[in-house]
Symmetry: C2
Subunit: 200 residues, 2 copies
């Protein structure tokens, strides 16, 4: 019609399948999910899955890849948001935490279902994860160099800060007393204490 903005019927089905797979994998895990769980939720026959996707594993890969790319982009953007390492860290942690809380279903898949990927897909995702890790380590290392953070090893702090966000995927639910944004603010403060950010 107007532009390519109108999603074609086929793209809509494809998208519904991905959404249904995301919810199912998040709730029951990859191996605990049957292809029929996905197609029933998407309102299609069991065969329709294979019209749009090569396999159940491909769905997992697509979800995992998109999730990792989102996180990597968030890290990179957060670092450009300011020249001050303190502000960089605050922004990155806030966004990272809020995103993991808001999309805790997708985060569960991203972080806990990697072992179910095919070897080549696993390798591709692993390299994305590595880039995410390095991004945070570099941010902290530059803060140490600028005397904004007062710790000897950026890697320990990076592990800890990532763990704060990732573990949300395990325990956060939509009815938690803090909203994703609020939790992001709180955890950003914790992160600044973890790196011993200096006041000035």
């Amino acid at each position: 019609m107007t532009a390519g903005a109108e999603p074609s019927r086929t793209e809509a089905t494809r998208h519904r399948l991905l959404e249904a797979a995301t919810q199912a994998f998040a709730e029951r895990g990859f191996h605990g999910t049957k292809t029929r769980d996905i197609t029933n939720a998407a309102g299609t026959s069991s065969a329709a899955l294979y019209v749009h996707h090569k396999s159940k594993e491909e769905l997992l890969f697509l979800i995992s890849k998109a999730g990792h790319e989102t996180t990597l982009a968030m890290m990179q953007q957060g670092r450009q948001a300011s020249d001050d390492p303190r502000e960089q860290l605050r922004t990155v942690v806030k966004d990272f935490v809020a995103d993991h809380a808001r999309n805790h279903g997708r985060a569960r898949i991203v972080n806990y279902e990697m072992a179910a990927l095919d070897p080549e897909h696993f390798d591709e995702i692993t390299s994305l994860r590595h880039r995410i890790d390095v991004e945070l380590i570099d941010l902290i290392a530059s803060g140490i160099k600028a005397k904004a953070f007062d710790i000897p090893d950026p890697r320990i702090a990076a592990s800890a800060i990532l763990s704060l966000g990732i573990d949300l995927a395990r325990w956060f639910t939509d009815d938690f007393r803090l909203a994703p944004d609020e939790l992001g603010e709180e955890y950003a403060e914790l992160a600044l204490r973890i790196v011993r950010a200096r006041a000035d």
Copy 2:
């Protein structure tokens, strides 16, 4: 002979099956593990599993229950180790983290395979987890009351500190550059910063 110290033949097999199940569940998840993976690793026929255990799920429950009970006992003992909340927190986090690193396989099962439990078993484990959470929140709350920790809400800090330890189950491997004890020391320091422990 001497006492009942000598493990009976039957107890030994039962134990081998549990060990094999622990490793298999940790590596591939509950749903990703076949009963034959377990029995092959334990060196028995596939039928022998059912001589000693009611079902595959029972194995999961036994592993999960033992793991949670160990953690709860650790929390309780750590609190009795000193009158100073700072020392209590240091001890608890050190032990908790070192244990999760050392037994990261078991920790994986304990923390990530709960959804595969039968409903009654799930409820039993959930109540154990609740007691663990409360133990740590109480510790921190008493530290706040004694003006040893300078934060408004013990629950946020407790969530964060638990996440540090639990997330180890996901990423720690035996060839990590820090030994479990060393990591425990490092993370105990982070925990003290998270609760803003006062120097005096």
